[in-house]
């Protein structure tokens, strides 16, 4: 059986033509407006309360729409954006170091390995400067210079200092800013907040997204909520790998359910493996912890020159160390983009030069920086990260070099959206990590926070109005046949999960699925490996539905049931990721196919065949998906092979 078929190309992305500098301005002007009296009559559902969802819900409510917000955590403040450490990019050029909107645009298109849309990325760069203004006005305590102005630093893949930060907790501070704006709207009665609720199905009426089915995680009650439009801001799907830097609850269910209802899923194989995470310590490991890559500004990455060198790193003389990033990439050194740093670490470990008990690790050494700047300066910059490292590993990184290894961190793929951030389902908008839009095949450091807030504060609130201007739409309630059917699907599925009553836990399946994905759809992929993975995923998925044991019932809090539903969706997504990775016979960004590399081991793109977005249409579990291609045109940044040497 074929793994996929090819359908019509994507007809229209709604991106304006003409000079790129004015596309966003022109799109905003051409978008229809909704008058304030009508806004009060319209309801928008927002799923997820991270940087994208929280900022969108707050902003839409400020504009006068009725907003219903949902999150699975006990408070909207806990969305996983909170864990982002390093910073947020913005083209302010406060450093006078040659930065500009055009340069941020250029760097992001190049960093994405020429697999993103120029129009979207330019808009992102334009909006970046407004984000900083907005956050400062909200009281986000960014790092400052002694003169009282904002401090910036450089970050992976950039040669200018455009990254704003709040110690190692930038995501937390930005999210709390958005959360506080959201709470203000909740207090004013403009947002109805539903925490500990999980979206389990999308409701389509006459082809439009008109509602969702949610489960109250505390009471187990299933309910159908209707609205004029639905916004998904439910984050990425890195947890398909089981071990990742994502929070334990992060899942693909909201977007996958929408995909099953007709929303295209774009570029699912583009996953970012972050180079600086704490290595796995044993079989019990439940998640991986990121060490901000800002550490690479001062830390030097190395392994011993000799294989199997087990000496204490402090006893290995300079001459016997290989600072491999500085050696291979002299102009960017330790600051090469994430995909390159990760693969380089894998390569030296594959050569047998890895360090630590598992030999899957490399050193990140601060000895030089401590000598040069003093321990106090390093403490001020990275104190909380060093403490976190010591708590987890029991080793003091001021004395002994850190050990790091790559881990799954971010997913560039996601639901396909047009320039307006609308999916292929009318009325369904997708923002933040949940969409595929701006990062191409690789995201640059400090760009996720920028994109989440750009989408939520500035882009979606402008573009959704154009859709809602055609409303208010015909009133529908939970008794509509489509809503009843969606709700019945949810109930059937929950009953099915509970009925298996097998002999394996959900986690044991999830762990095994993660191993298959890491082995065959991780840092390096091959034709044979991906085919093998697809077979293994299918077999394991069958086993799951025959052998999983979900204790308890659907009434009330049942964390095993929550996990089971999420893992069931990961099984379906995993197959699509492998099909996407298999069909893309080139290497680009986070997608490295071993068959497609330059003689010196760098990723080799094939622009003639693959300069397109792969948007997949669902046809049934285990059935061949339909590929719709959206051709990418590069008018401003000419595709070249990325070189960081």
């Amino acid at each position: 059986m074929d793994l996929y078929t090819e359908g019509d190309p994507v007809a229209d992305t709604r991106a304006p033509e003409g000079p790129i500098e004015t596309r966003w301005e022109r799109r905003r002007f051409s978008a229809k407006l909704v008058n304030p009296a009508n806004r009060r009559k319209m309801t928008v559902i927002v799923v997820g309360t991270g940087l994208a969802g929280g900022s969108a819900a707050a902003t839409l409510a400020e504009q006068g729409y009725r907003v219903r917000s949902y999150c699975y955590q006990d408070s909207p403040r806990r969305a996983h954006s909170i864990a982002a450490q390093g910073g947020i990019n913005a083209a302010k050029n406060y450093r006078n170091d040659g930065d500009s909107i055009h340069r941020l645009f250029y760097d992001t298109v190049k960093g994405g390995d020429f697999r993103s849309r120029e129009s979207n990325v330019h808009r992102l760069a334009e909006v970046s400067v407004n984000i900083i203004d907005q956050c400062v006005a909200q009281g986000v305590p960014f790092a400052r210079e002694y003169g009282g102005l904002l401090d910036t630093r450089s970050f992976g893949g950039a040669q200018v200092q455009r990254t704003f930060y709040a110690r190692g907790q930038t995501g937390q501070q930005l999210l709390l800013g958005a959360y506080q704006a959201l709470e203000r709207q909740i207090g004013l009665g403009n947002v109805e907040m539903n925490s500990r609720h999980e979206m389990l199905e999308l409701v389509l009426v006459d082809g439009k997204a008109r509602g969702i089915v949610v489960r109250d995680l505390v009471t187990g009650e299933i309910s159908t909520e209707m609205a004029d439009a639905v916004v998904l801001a439910s984050g990425g799907y890195g947890n398909v790998f089981y071990l990742s830097t994502n929070a334990k609850g992060c899942n693909v269910t909201a977007t996958w359910r929408a995909h099953r209802k007709g929303a295209y899923f774009a570029n699912p194989c583009y996953t970012q493996i972050h180079p600086t995470c704490i290595p796995v310590s044993g079989d019990h490991q439940s998640k991986l912890t990121l060490m901000s890559e800002s550490l690479r500004n001062d830390g030097r990455v190395w392994v011993p020159k000799a294989k199997g060198d087990d000496r204490d790193p402090r006893d290995i003389p300079e001459a016997e160390r290989d600072y491999y990033l500085e050696r291979i990439y002299p102009s960017f050194g330790n600051l090469v983009p994430r995909d390159i740093a990760s693969r380089a670490a894998k390569n030296v470990c594959d050569e047998g030069r890895g360090v630590g008990p598992t030999k899957l690790g490399v050193y990140l050494d601060f000895a030089d920086a401590i000598n040069r700047l003093g321990r106090k300066a390093i403490e001020a910059k990275y104190g909380n990260l060093f403490e976190m490292y010591e708590r987890i590993t029991g080793e003091d990184p001021y004395e002994v070099p850190m050990r790091i290894y790559p881990a799954v961190h971010y997913t560039m793929g996601g639901l396909w959206v047009d320039y307006d951030l609308q999916s292929s389902i009318p009325g369904l908008f997708v923002i933040g990590e949940a969409n595929f839009s701006d990062h191409g095949a690789n995201r640059l450091g400090a760009s996720a926070l920028m994109q989440g807030l750009a989408d939520g504060y500035f882009v979606l609130p402008a573009t959704i109005a154009n859709y809602l201007a055609a409303g208010p739409f015909e009133a529908v309630d939970a008794s509509h046949p489509a809503a009843v059917e969606a709700r019945r699907d949810v109930e059937t599925r929950i009953a099915r999960l509970l009925a298996v009553d097998g002999d394996r836990t959900v986690d044991s399946f999830h762990r095994e699925l993660g191993q298959i994905m890491w082995e065959h759809c991780g840092m390096e992929r091959t034709d044979a490996g991906l085919r093998k993975a697809i077979d293994e995923i299918r077999a394991l998925r069958d086993q799951f539905w025959q052998r999983v044991r979900v204790p308890g019932d659907g009434e009330g809090l049942n964390q095993s049931l929550e996990k089971a539903g999420r893992v069931a969706d990961f099984f379906e997504l995993a197959e699509l990721m492998c099909v996407d990775a298999l069909h893309r016979e080139e290497s680009c960004g986070g997608h490295f196919r071993a068959e497609h590399q330059t003689p010196d081991g760098e990723a080799q793109r094939d622009d003639d065949r693959f300069a397109y977005v792969a948007a997949w249409e669902y046809t049934g579990t285990g059935e061949p998906a339909v590929l719709h291609k959206e051709d990418l045109k590069f008018e401003y940044v000419h595709p070249t092979q990325r070189s960081y040497k």
Binding site: H80, Q134, G139, L176
Partner: protein, 253 residues
Amino acid sequence: MNLTLRIWRQKGPEDKGRMVTYQVEDVSPDMSFLEMLDVLNERLILSGEEPVAFDHDCREGICGMCGLMINGDAHGPQRGTTACQLHMRQFSDGETIDIEPWRARAFPVVKDLVVNRNAFDKIIAAGGYITAPTGSAPEAHSTPVPKADADAAFESAACIGCGACVAACPNGSGMLFTAAKITQLSLLPQGQPERYTRVIGMVDAHDEAGFGGCTNAGECTVVCPKGIPLNTIGRLNRDYLAATAKNGGKPGS
């Protein structure tokens, strides 16, 4: 390591609840505390028992979702560490560990070790923000902020809203949480216009939610995983006093 766990089990808000004893074997010192509970839960599921419900999400000490009383200490024995970042090397072989939920009037138990902390959100909704609707912001550099103020604001803003301060407080007070937000926003020039309405609104919401009053016991700051200092409460009290003075001596807005 082999451990004896005594864990609070409670089916729902109405159930009385009780401590139940479990044995866990072969615990690695490199496990986190929550990974040790994962191991127990896997075993309970396979033996047909209901696993222990506990809140957790990021498992890197920043989301504030986890919260356990471990041997009577909020987040356990290690200072400046959330339960998810606590590792088993902090315990010794053969030890008996008591695990309970946060206990406070404002945090009712949902199930087992899971509590409802919505009261914290209500305090923020009552004034824990700066009113700056999207699009209204001036250029970021138009108002410099002295570095010392920015750094001190950050220190308070580091609060993760886990509720350990409330659980540790003999009065079940949420003052440290409330004061952390008030301190952050009142140190910044952008926070000045709403400074006094904010403190009244937040303190009123705090009291309405059923938190107790502060008697300077100081337990809160000891267990705070982010080290929010006790003097933030002093700052809250000063602002509250100034606000009531401005309001003709009457609290409330």
